[in-house]
């Protein structure tokens, strides 16, 4: 571990002031791990874990979740379970109880890839060291993205929570040196393109304060399905967050996002639109699933993800249609 300075922020303003050039520390489950590996080497840490950013608050039109609420707190919150079962399920399907007790919502938004090459300093990685190349492209790709990749990076986005939030069309509220702003969920994570080292649409010094999730009928009838190599403490081979609003036997609105397949949480509005007006039945689900994985590029070890993701989406939509 390299030398670094540590500062405990006394207030949000204090944190934002100290922010540019520093890394914010909350639960530390990702950041500290990567610092030990020397994958991330911030010279300054600003600890925001003690700031009053933990609240979960119901508003008339949605739920506001504080940036430092832990995964466990959010998953267990009655309003989350009632309004967004998919979010609770996604959180509980991730990591282990110990990790969920300290990992935070904002930390999870900024969770780094689990790409084995990114984490191994002995290998080339454009995300870790821009311009060094990508060992994954010709390497072991079973846990790599089939959607959203580039010739420079195919690192998978590993979060479960983010898949649910993408489907729910959450909005991320941040504060920076230039004031407050809201970032739609779909814009928060960047595709790797030519610059896989740029991962988030955050300006220097910007601090996530909260996530707002709008209430919706589809959100109340939502489910998360995760396929993984073991029953617990495993990243998704494929996952799907799906929510349906059904009226008079037809789908009025749909929410759909895939995990385990994309370089970012993979929401496909076209697939959601394709479900609108359809009967909540298998044939419609299969069509939506087909649209959701359009454009996928598979490699030697991850060709199975295409079919697995489709099946996972059909399962999640089927469960959502069956209702709570």
């Amino acid at each position: 571990m390299r030398h670094f300075s540590y500062q405990r922020a006394a207030s949000v303003e204090d944190a934002v002031r100290a922010g540019p050039g520093a890394a914010f520390l909350a639960g530390g489950t990702s950041l500290v791990d990567l610092m030990k590996l020397e994958v991330l080497n911030p010279s300054r840490l600003v600890d925001v874990s003690r700031l009053d950013l933990r609240g979960i608050e119901a508003r008339p039109d949605g739920l506001r979740i504080g940036a430092c609420a832990t995964n466990s707190e959010v998953a267990a919150h009655p309003e989350v379970k009632r309004r967004f079962p998919v979010l609770s399920e996604a959180l509980l399907s991730g990591a282990s109880p110990q990790l969920r007790n300290v990992a935070t919502v904002a930390g999870n938004l900024m969770q780094r890839t689990r790409c084995a090459y990114y984490r191994d300093l002995a290998t080339a990685c454009n995300k870790r060291e821009p311009g060094s190349g990508c060992a994954a492209l010709e390497g072991w790709t079973r846990m790599h993205a089939i959607l959203g990749g580039s010739e420079r990076c195919i690192a998978l986005h590993p979060s479960d929570m983010c898949v649910a939030m993408a489907a729910l069309q959450a909005v991320i509220h941040v504060r920076g040196p230039n004031g407050d702003r809201d970032i739609p969920f779909g814009d928060f994570h960047l595709l790797p393109g030519d610059h896989p080292e740029r991962e988030f649409a955050l300006e220097p010094g910007e601090l996530v304060l909260s996530v707002f999730i709008p209430f919706s009928a589809a959100g109340m009838r939502s489910r998360y399905v995760k396929v993984r190599d073991r029953a617990s403490y495993a990243f998704a081979l494929a996952s799907c967050a799906a929510g349906l609003e059904i009226a008079s036997g037809k789908i009025r609105a749909a929410q759909l996002a895939l995990g385990g397949v994309g370089t970012k949480p993979w929401r496909v509005p076209e697939a959601e639109q394709a479900l609108q007006g359809q009967s909540p039945e298998r044939v419609a689900f299969q069509r939506a699933a087909e649209i959701a994985v359009r454009g996928a590029q598979t490699r030697r070890d991850n060709a199975f993800k295409m079919e697995l993701a489709r099946r996972t989406a059909v399962r999640a939509l089927t469960l959502a249609a069956e209702g709570a």
Binding site: M1, R2, E38, R114, A116, Y117, R119, D120, A122, T123, A135, E138, G139, W140, R142, M143, V225, V227, R228, D229, R230, A231, S232, Y233, A234, F235, L237, F304, E307, L308, R311, T312, V314, R315
Partner: protein, 708 residues
């Protein structure tokens, strides 16, 4: 009074859960320095330069050992074979990725970690191969070592080709098991303290203090008495700590070079390559049978990976020699050299990986013959060893089949795949035979009666989670006629009477026998001195002057090993639930019935078997050291990427102890239980997956993508 067999809870349990039990890395000595390994990124080649200039300028850094500046060892780095060949900075050669190429030493652990990360290695890579398939054509026969004995690579009886020609049904298939890595909770750790220029004390996480002692003594050209090795508790080992690896020498070298005691622990990524692992295997099975199920041919040919510089042979085809009655048998072992670290014994070495292939093939044969898989095995039950043509010292396999099938509810199985569902999941049932040798190696022990009527018994075996402190105390108490509270058993010290390696299901049988014999001898001597019953021991010792009365004994196998085949047996039954669309497999139930001679402690025996069976779940569904072939490097290098079964993967595990008396195998009548729980487990699960889905998976692990 009865001690043997009692389900006595672990006597060291409270010490372990409160942290009082001291593991290797926890020994503290004044002036301690800390060492951290730097390992190679290339899989083959030479180290051209180790640039440690920046690292050594950092505060607190005492030294960075490199191939250039490391002390030259006066003796060989390999102990007496089969001790492993290791790399200890004696030259610039790189044989595998993750080989130690430097050691950073500092006054704190954190500074050593920091220094290690600052060391820059420049190497000249050479072309490497880590893929078994690429070198299969160069596979060569090699004898193997199992249970402390040398065993020929090939054995045969009859004419397999003819047997196959005469068969009504044949199965000829290839099965594969992946490279796996032991990952005990406690990574390897060593503390080296030079008490004098030629006297060394080492605290080590090991399965064999005497091997550590011998290796260090040879390498540093000292009498072995000058090396004192201590290991009071070991946090899991599973074979990976059976041979002292490079870090043991490197820690002692570092301590010598900086003139301070040094401690070193492997970090989790270091576990992958330099301390063994189960080798990748490819196994060809050919079975032939008559319509009624009787085998006419059984051929098991195994190729397993080893390193370029040392040999380990996974004994996959050994069971084929002893398990089933068949007139025509062949069993062959080949090794394939790759640019990898040398593999080693991993829980049920050979038997675990071999039984996956053999017992899967038998399941395929049962399908081909339209026979119940259990019936097929009963039809071919061996009444005597089919190759050696000699009796078994004891064999209760029929009882294992019967008891296991009854408790499991085997009669509820549908022979047709995909015939049963439960809550939308496909239900499958499968079974397999388990067998593991009743190993016995020479072991010594001492027993001492104190003037207060308490006894001390010692042998240099190890506590690796096996329950040694508890079980040996029970054996001793039983032989002496004392309550267990009056007996202390101590272990894990090279100054104690010599014990064999605590591995290979050897040590409970062997040390248990030595403890039994020495305690009997002590009792006899006390009786000769006038003792009548345990209550009078104190008085007898006091009358004789009060000095403790001591006996030493040795237990060793004899001619009976040539007259009998000695195997523990078992039957494994698995029920799996498979998601028909998403391919996820859950092992809902695993029932195993095992007969392994005398049970010394029913609670700990069940724990051993349960652990072995859980290991089988990991083998069937999870474990896989993934190589990046281009880099020649294992890239699943942490416990998030290298999967073992999590708690949620382990549902109902039911080990059953089947009574068995064996008066031949060893004086204690014990066949070790450390491995047999793993044998057959992966095959039973794979066979259940076939029963659930109709898909035959011949390559482990079985992951969702295999079942789409």
């Amino acid at each position: 009074m009865k001690n043997i067999g009692d389900p006595l809870p672990r006597v060291d349990g409270p010490a372990k859960v409160t942290g009082a039990a001291r593991y290797a890395y926890e020994w503290q000595v004044p002036g301690m320095a800390y060492a951290v390994l730097v390992t190679s990124n290339t899989a083959r080649g030479r180290v051209l330069e180790v640039d440690a200039s920046a690292a050594t300028r950092e505060p607190g850094v005492l030294a960075v050992l490199t191939p250039q500046n490391a002390m030259r060892l006066p003796g060989p780095t390999q102990g007496e074979p089969p001790d492993r060949v290791v790399q200890a900075l004696q030259d610039d050669r790189v044989y595998f990725s993750n080989q130690p190429v430097a050691v950073a030493v500092a006054d704190t652990f954190e500074r050593a970690v920091h220094a290690a990360l600052m060391v820059r290695i420049r190497s000249e890579p050479a072309r490497h191969t880590v893929r078994l398939e690429d070198e299969l054509a160069n596979a060569v026969p090699h004898d193997l070592i199992a249970g402390g004995r040398s065993i020929p690579a090939d054995e045969a009886r009859g004419d397999v080709a003819r047997g196959l020609r005469e068969a009504d049904a044949r199965v000829e298939q290839t099965y594969e098991t992946p490279p796996e890595t032991h990952n005990p909770m406690e990574p390897h750790a060593t503390v080296a303290v030079w008490e004098a220029p030629d006297r060394l004390t080492v605290y080590d996480s090991t399965q064999w203090v005497f091997a550590v002692q011998r290796k260090l003594a040879r390498a540093f050209a000292m009498p072995k008495e000058n090396v004192h090795v201590i290991a009071k508790f070991v946090g899991g080992a599973f074979g990976s700590k059976g041979s002292p690896w490079s870090h043991v020498l490197l820690t002692a070298m570092a301590a010598k070079q900086v003139g301070r005691p040094v401690k070193l622990a492997l970090m989790r990524p270091h576990m992958f390559g330099m301390v063994g692992g189960r080798p990748h295997t490819r196994q060809k099975l050919a079975l032939g049978a008559r319509k009624d199920g009787r085998l006419t041919a059984l051929s098991h040919q195994s190729a397993s990976a080893t390193s370029r510089f040392d040999v380990f042979v996974e004994g996959c085809a050994l069971q084929a020699r002893h398990l089933y009655a068949c007139p025509n048998i062949e069993s062959k072992h080949r090794i394939v050299r790759l640019d990898i670290g040398t593999p080693t014994f991993m829980r049920a070495p050979g038997e675990a990986s071999g039984s996956f292939a053999l017992e899967s093939a038998l399941d395929e044969l049962a399908v081909a013959l339209d026979l119940d898989p259990l019936e097929l095995r009963l039809k071919n039950h061996a009444e005597k060893d089919p190759i050696e043509d000699r009796p078994f010292s004891s064999k209760s396999l029929r009882a294992c089949y019967a008891e296991g099938a009854r408790r499991f509810g085997w009669e509820k199985r549908s022979a047709r795949p995909r015939a049963q569902t439960r809550e939308g999941m496909l239900v499958g049932m499968g079974m397999a035979t388990a067998a593991y040798p009743g190993n016995f190696a020479p072991a010594q022990a001492l027993a001492r009666m104190n003037a207060d009527g308490t006894a001390l018994v010692q042998s240099g075996m190890l506590e690796v989670g096996n329950g040694a402190y508890t079980v040996m105390r029970q054996v001793a108490a039983d032989a002496l006629g004392l309550p267990v509270e009056k007996v202390r058993f101590d272990l894990g010290d090279s100054t104690m009477p010599e014990a064999p390696i605590t591995a290979g299901s050897i040590s409970t049988a062997s040390v248990g026998s030595a403890v039994l014999l020495v305690c009997r001898a002590l009792r006899q001597r006390l009786e000769q001195m006038g003792a009548s019953g345990a209550a009078s021991y104190a008085e007898v010792v006091q009358r004789a002057g009060g000095a403790p009365i001591e006996e030493r004994s040795k237990a060793a196998p004899g001619e009976e090993r040539k007259r009998y085949t000695m195997l523990g047996h078992g039957a494994q039954f698995a029920e799996v639930l498979v998601d028909p669309e998403l391919g996820m497999v859950r092992v809902a139930r695993l029932v195993g019935a095992f007969a392994c001679g005398r049970v010394l402690n029913a609670r700990l025996a069940r724990s051993q078997l349960m652990g072995g069976m859980v290991w089988g779940i990991g083998m069937a569904l999870h474990e896989h050291s993934v190589y990046d072939e281009k880099l020649g490097r294992i890239i699943s290098r942490d416990l998030a990427d290298y999967h073992v079964a999590s708690n949620a993967d382990v549902q109902s595990i039911e080990p059953i102890l089947v009574e068995e008396e064996d008066t031949v195998v060893d004086p204690a009548g014990v066949k070790g239980m450390g491995e047999i729980g793993t044998c057959g487990a992966a095959a039973a699960i794979a066979n259940a997956v076939f029963n659930a889905t109709g898909r035959r998976i011949r390559s482990l692990p079985i992951t969702p993508d295999n079942l789409l």
